[in-house]
């Protein structure tokens, strides 16, 4: 059913919420020059508002309604108990500027979570401040910069980023004032070690690396890659977007990473919220800890928790201490699963992805045919021969009741379909998804128009994105 805009549902005089009368004497009003004349907000009754948003919600696909294998986004089930604990008034109704004696429980949670994330990554220290993965990346790159400058190495201006990297990596490096140089990949999907070695030099600040990479593959030369960067005086930044694949199976610190972010809304099950909020804590080695943005939580000798700014902090990257209620959920998740549970997360995520890859590799081209980790990247190159593109396959999956995978990323794979099932899906779901993908592959050969015209099951057909960008209409005014 088509749902009108709030502005169209408005009628003068309707009110959704009533507030108490003023219970103090009225003060003199401000001079008119400070006051607004009209407040052009919609006017709706409460039931209007409720129906409007419930109806809108029904137009979404979500993890709680369908399989959502959006590659690189780790769309795992979000445990409901985590929502309940995040709503406890002792967490949600606490002001960030309250005296520290009155928030010891909140500070303890921050402190413990810092320690857990450091343990999971095999690194020494954590700042929970960054609001999302991209902000974590910027933070990490600023720390690398501060470190080089402190050592009189401010001339190190170049950052290497593999061509398979998320777009946030080069963008974050540029925001940290770095010059970005792309590194290629070899025929097996790993970083091209020869090219990497050629790119070393006295102006190297570091390398940003995702491992497993965005092809869903574990970088087999990881130790050599990190060694090469370190020998050249650079540092290695880790994009933790794909940490889900190696939880409890490898620690990035052991592999050679110096500083990295984690996406708590991916690996640690906090809800994606239609695009956020996430949280992008940063973990680092000892020698980088003084540069972490603060404040961070510390425990004094007497067991009291306080907030402290690290000595050489790169500053702060936002107000207060991070997306606290997201941190509460991640904390609850880690406590629920324990060490063995976290290891099983990685195991099952990897089994599911390899199972999908195995079942699909007759009908679809697997981009790099070797064992994958938590996700598999397919190419629609065979289907393209019939005029069916990755985009069409994605849209056709909607008609089969699945959220599409990530498409056209990584950029180095032609007609990419990036499928990440996660550990919270069953073999039954994998089988149903495989059946749909195989059916679509047949349709692509036999009736390409059927796939090209998808979706047909949704209220709206394909949206005209070209007109949207050419003649932007961005508000109802």
């Amino acid at each position: 059913m088509k749902e009108g805009l709030l502005s169209e549902l408005s009628a003068p005089g309707r009110q959704g919420v009533m507030l108490p009368d003023l219970d103090v004497p009225e003060a003199a009003l401000l001079p008119e020059s400070f006051l607004r004349e009209d407040l052009p907000l919609p006017e709706l009754s409460q039931v209007d508002v409720v129906r409007h948003f419930v109806r809108l919600s029904q137009e979404n696909f979500a993890i709680d309604t369908v399989f959502y294998p959006l590659g690189s986004c780790t769309m795992k089930y979000n445990p409901k108990v985590n929502e309940e604990v995040a709503r406890l008034s002792g967490f949600s109704q606490v002001h960030p500027y309250q005296a520290q004696e009155t928030v010891q429980g909140a500070l303890r949670l921050l402190y413990d979570l810092q320690e857990y994330l450091a343990e999971i990554t095999g690194l020494a220290s954590t700042s929970l401040q960054p609001a999302a993965g991209a902000q974590g990346e910027l933070t990490g790159m600023l720390m690398i910069r501060a470190y080089h400058e402190a050592k009189g190495q401010g001339h190190r201006k170049r950052v290497l980023v593999p061509d398979s990297a998320h777009g946030t990596n080069p963008s974050s490096a540029a925001m940290a004032g770095y010059q970005v140089v792309s590194v290629g990949h070899d025929s097996e999907g790993d970083v091209d070690l020869t090219q990497l070695r050629e790119l070393m030099g006295p102006d190297l600040a570091g390398l940003m690396l995702t491992n497993p990479n965005t092809l869903g593959l574990f970088e087999r030369h990881i130790v050599e890659v990190c060694n090469a960067v370190h020998e050249a005086g650079g540092l290695v930044y880790g994009d933790g977007a794909n940490l889900n694949a190696i939880l409890g199976w490898a620690k990035p610190g052991d592999l050679g990473f110096d500083v990295m972010h984690l996406n708590l809304h991916k690996t640690f099950s906090t809800p994606h919220g239609g695009g956020g909020p996430g949280a992008g804590p940063v973990c680092c080695r000892d020698f980088l800890a003084p540069y972490l943005p603060g404040p961070v939580a510390v425990r004094d000798g007497d067991g009291r928790y306080t907030l402290r700014q690290p000595a050489e902090a790169v500053g702060r990257v936002r107000s207060f201490y991070g997306n606290f209620l997201v941190l509460v959920r991640a904390y609850a998740y880690i406590r629920s699963l324990g060490p063995e549970g976290l290891r099983q997360v990685a195991e099952n995520a990897v089994i599911n992805a390899n199972y999908l890859q195995t079942r699909l590799d007759d009908a679809y081209q697997v981009a790099f045919p070797r064992r994958c980790m938590h996700e598999t990247v397919l190419s629609a190159s065979r289907q393209k021969a019939h005029g069916v593109r990755a985009w069409d396959i994605a849209k056709r999956l909607i008609d089969y009741g699945f959220h599409p995978p990530t498409v056209y990323f990584p950029l180095i794979v032609h007609e990419a379909l990036m499928v990440e099932p996660t550990e919270t899906e069953s073999k039954d779901t994998m089988d149903a998804f495989v059946a749909a993908m195989l059916a679509i592959a047949r349709e692509a050969e036999e009736d390409p128009a059927l796939v090209q015209g998808a979706p047909r099951s949704t209220r709206l057909g394909r949206l005209d994105e070209v007109t949207a960008a050419r003649k932007p209409r961005l508000c109802w005014g």
């Binding site: 003023l22 919600s57 696909f61 993965g133 239609g274 599409p404 109802w476």
Partner: protein, 434 residues
């Protein structure tokens, strides 16, 4: 607890289909000496145990359900109608991600279009994005945007912007070789070398400044005017679009989000039509589908990191979508009358409190300036000590700003403070300073 549905039998049959004898074989690309390290974490908990432990932790915090709150400074305790939490908790919103696939994301997309529209209505600006992390990060991004537009590398900041916002701005500015300088109070001096002037209305101390003519001075110098605003105050105050602001940012937390020990919050970001292609962040636009029906989609993506990589307007990807949805539901529920009423209640109650407190011996208002819902008081007792004494009476006192204003205490009053609470505060202040 486990959330893995596969049984042992499922796993075995899947491993067989894959063609491996064990799970370990799937992890062989990890160097063997680094594989399966010890993980020193506390043992797993069942849901019952987890809730009990977290409840105990939460209960050691003093919360605003059990203590009257007079604390603000960038995080505000406002009323949140019940329907806000209920609607935002719809799992179809909650457990979706960025609406890359428009046909199965119309709920999120239309709500974001409505969010952008409501922020435009509130601020008087032409366009808004679909959210930023928080007010401080939004302010930093607004400055970078002004730098891109003007090609200038100096940023002027009014002295009374939130100190954490200024620190955040410096973090973002420093690596790009940009300088952040404090502008003199009105008139702001010669800005012909500056990308922008950043002001906050009401400022960090709650004061309101006359904005008439400021935009003209800034624009004559070829700079942009950036304003940081409190969205609740805009139920009463002149929208920044009316006094010539080019980029408006703000902390959207007061629009239906609990104070939450500092996050998640909501960065508001709006600008003039002319500058949309330099705006950071996701934007939703209206369009039509293949049959000509109205629909919504992410748009102007050529600005963004996933397309433009190191040349993007910002690295932002994940934003605060659910917080933006919260603000949308809040504004829809409050509506024109409700928001006006909230804004009015804050104003009058804050002035009642200010009158009564400043009449106490030893207390005085720190500034002789119009204010909105916060005001700075000079106290006869150290503010930290004052707050300790108030806490014994189940009151969370104002912000200690004695590092900025001698004996300074920043008091915030909202619609949540009843007359009885304000009178009790005044009585308590009289008692502890007697």
């Amino acid at each position: 607890m486990t959330y893995v549905p596969n049984t042992q039998a499922d796993r075995e049959s899947m491993l067989e289909a894959i063609g491996v004898g064990s799970v370990e074989e799937l992890f062989h690309d990890i160097p063997s000496d680094l594989r399966q390290p010890a993980l020193h974490l506390p043992p797993a908990l069942t849901e019952m145990e987890l809730v009990a432990q977290l409840r105990a932790m939460a209960e050691t915090n003093a919360d605003l359900d059990h203590n009257a709150c007079f604390l603000g400074g960038g995080a505000y305790h406002h009323f949140v109608p019940s329907l806000v939490g209920q609607l935002v908790s719809r799992q179809e919103f909650y457990t979706a991600y960025t609406p890359y696939q428009a046909e199965v994301s119309q709920g999120t997309l239309q709500a974001m279009f409505e969010f952008q529209s409501l922020i435009c209505d509130l601020t008087g600006m032409d366009v808004a994005n679909a959210s930023h992390y928080d007010g401080a990060a939004a302010l930093a991004e607004a400055a970078l945007m002004a730098v891109r537009i003007t090609g200038r590398e100096r940023i002027a900041v009014a002295s009374a912007i939130h100190p954490e916002y200024r620190t955040t701005l410096q973090t973002y500015a420093r690596p790009l070789g940009l300088t952040v300088e404090t502008a003199p109070a009105m008139p702001p001096g010669d800005l012909s070398d500056y990308a922008c002037l950043i002001v906050q209305q009401p400022d960090f101390f709650g004061r309101l400044q006359q904005m008439g003519g400021l935009a003209d001075l800034v624009h004559q110098a070829g700079a942009l005017l950036v304003a940081s605003v409190d969205p609740i105050s805009l139920g009463l105050l002149k929208p920044p679009g009316d006094y010539g602001v080019d980029i408006v940012i703000g902390e959207g937390q007061p629009l239906g989000l609990p104070v939450s020990f500092g996050g998640p919050y909501l960065g508001l970001f709006a600008c003039r039509q002319a500058h949309i292609r330099q705006m950071p962040g996701r934007i939703v636009g209206e369009t039509v589908d293949s049959r000509g029906e109205r629909g919504y989609t992410l748009t102007l993506q050529a600005r963004e990191q996933h397309i433009r990589r190191e040349r993007a307007t910002s690295n932002i990807c994940t934003n605060q979508a659910l917080a933006a949805l919260t603000a949308t539901v809040y504004l829809a529920a409050m509506g024109r009358q409700g928001l006006r009423q909230v804004a009015r209640l804050c104003y009058h109650k804050a002035h009642y409190a200010a009158d009564r407190i400043s009449a106490l011996p030893g207390f005085s208002l720190a500034f002789n300036a119009p204010f909105y819902k916060e005001f700075a008081v000079r106290c006869p007792l150290a503010p930290a000590e004052l707050n300790r004494r108030l806490l014994e009476r189940r009151m969370i006192g104002g912000l200690d700003i004695s590092d900025l204003v001698e004996g300074g205490w920043l008091v915030c009053v909202t619609e949540m403070n009843t007359r009885q609470q304000i009178d009790s505060l005044v009585d308590a202040l009289a008692e502890v300073t007697r």
